[in-house]
Symmetry: C2
Subunit: 353 residues, 2 copies
């Protein structure tokens, strides 16, 4: 049995026991609140974990890009939600090809997106399910009011080749009440217009334990909950002991008493700070601060540490943001109780289109 | 002939005419100052551009990781400098294998690194060239004083299997005089100790036009100069018309009058700000500000724009940092006068170890 500490660095370690515990904990929560789960695969990009979530009770998966949907469809996943405005001939053709082999649904927040989808699916054997994306506070995509949601829903319902699927939001973290009120108003407005929403899809991990407070929602799309990370811990979603993804790095230099340099930089940890100080938590040296990253070097301030790592020592880092780390590595190594289980390719890595 | 605007998005475009102009401009500068060039391939990660730089007069290439060296050696490049502390049995074995087929040199900033290199190369048929990495102001790796440089140089010179190659620094941007003084003092101290430095290797693009002021340097290792980017323009190294790498993205949503959402987020542009506001420059809308990135969405503030992009419109973005964008894409598309020349794999992408 290989101990993970024998791996070359930098490497991504995934603790499969923590993965399973995280999946089960949220599935149990959702079940107990009669909320369906449609987990986002962006965090892990691995068909095996998508399937595991479904085995545990998820109703399907969420992806963000066509390339991710294609990888998951190739792996045998048949229920795929892609909450994105699909624009342009090339992507519409890929979407149509996907829809011929799996159940795929999408979102739209404009008449232009709806028009493109309808032109593509007008002659399809089954209609495409389209949800209206709602901006309930995030300030990203989405219609700006419940009235606009109704208008676009009517447009979808009237478009050849399309079927109105309901409402979708990616909410702003922390604004649970505002999100709940927005969706409730839109759901009511749709009912009043004689066009009830079959699905109301809410998302995100930061407020996962309050998902049941969004009464209008029929389902939730958490992503990061499977791995957790330093940001989610900062939001109180769980503890560091729940974090399943760590980056293994080697100390390659100790140029001064208070400085260590590791072989993991922005190409391993990314520059995502998500508003926090530092670029990750070093498990064995929690008082150390990763103060800077260049592409292949991480710079660590050890001034607050009682003991300090030596050159050649391997350290494990809980990154600020797990999803973007998954995207940087061709493979990840699954571990259980410190032993290597398997090294697997990150199948949907880098699928940006 | 395909126009680049027909490409699906997000896509990375490389203007090969600008690449050639950038390579020639810096080679001419270096030649005129009798400074050798050893360009860093981290920016492009493409064997073809490494070879082009050599054809134009560069004496070899610089890489940061063994994986990059392996890709470049496989492509036929024979002069490779890897300014990194190579630590651990797995990496030392790969280094030894590389040294058997190309001329590779490395750096060290500690006795531990030197000991590992010496143990590995003691029985090699030719000695490994090792330069002392110097911290001349960057605060990353490197010995902390000229006296420490001499001591480590003596250690290298006395170690079986190794040959002392000289000094190397990656300097802090803007601190040209301090860098020059540090290297001059170390070079003199080495000469005084009877151990002259054959190579003194300086690096970086931000101060490339002042490289000749670092009199002790025998060579320079610029990286980003080949593509340029928004950061280098902010430092005055060149203008936006010199930027060879752009990200082509599509406007997928216009949720409000002053907001556009594009299909390029942190998985295409990265979160690198390098101290600047915003995440890139939109060529056709220079008054637009890319105010936020999530993984697959870029959020743009259009409030200062007289004209505003429509849904479905493709825009070109000059990223803050070109090198990290190259690392995110499986392929890049070479263009010339707006026409597609070829789409090529980014051979050394994601080689983090």
């Amino acid at each position: 049995m290989t101990d993970f500490s024998e791996l070359d660095t930098p490497a991504v370690l995934i603790d499969v026991d923590r993965v399973d515990a995280n999946l089960k904990r949220v599935q149990y929560y959702a079940d107990s609140h009669r909320l369906k789960l449609r987990p986002h695969i962006k965090t892990h990009k691995l068909p095996r974990f998508a399937k595991r979530a479904i085995d545990l009770g998820a109703i399907g998966i969420t992806v963000q890009k066509l390339g991710e949907a294609e990888v998951m469809a190739d792996a045998g996943i048949t229920e795929i939600f892609m909450p994105y405005n699909i624009i342009g001939a090339a992507k519409l053709a890929r979407l149509k090809a996907l829809a011929s082999r799996v159940n795929i649904s999408v979102t739209a927040d404009s008449e232009q997106t709806v028009a493109g989808l309808s032109a593509t699916f007008a002659d399809a054997s089954k209609p495409l399910l389209v949800l209206v994306e709602c901006d309930t506070g995030m300030g990203r995509c989405g219609v700006q009011s419940p009235a606009a949601a109704v208008a676009l829903a009517q447009k979808i319902a009237a478009s050849p080749g399309l079927r109105f699927g309901g409402l979708m939001t990616y909410p702003a973290a922390g604004l649970v009440e505002a999100n709940a009120a927005w969706l409730a108003a839109a759901k009511q407005a749709l009912a009043d217009a004689g066009l009830p929403a079959p699905i109301v899809s809410n998302g995100g991990t930061p407020d996962i334990w309050r998902a049941h407070e969004v009464k209008a929602a029929t389902e939730h799309r958490p992503g990061t909950y499977i791995y957790m990370d330093r940001f989610q811990v900062s939001k109180g979603v769980g503890g560091f002991a729940d974090c399943a993804l760590t980056v293994l790095a080697t100390v390659v230099s100790r140029p001064t008493e208070d400085r260590a340099i590791i072989d993991a930089g922005s190409k391993a940890l990314t520059s995502d700070t998500l508003g926090m100080a530092g670029f990750g938590l070093i498990e064995a040296y929690p008082d150390a601060v990763i103060v800077g990253l260049s592409e292949e070097h991480g710079t660590i301030d050890l001034s607050a540490c009682a003991t300090k790592p030596k050159i050649g020592e391997k350290i494990r880092i809980i990154p600020n943001h797990a999803c973007v780390v998954s995207n940087l590595f061709a493979t990840v190594t699954l571990i259980s109780n410190g032993a290597v289980v398997e090294t697997v390719p990150v199948a949907a890595r880098g699928r940006v289109d």
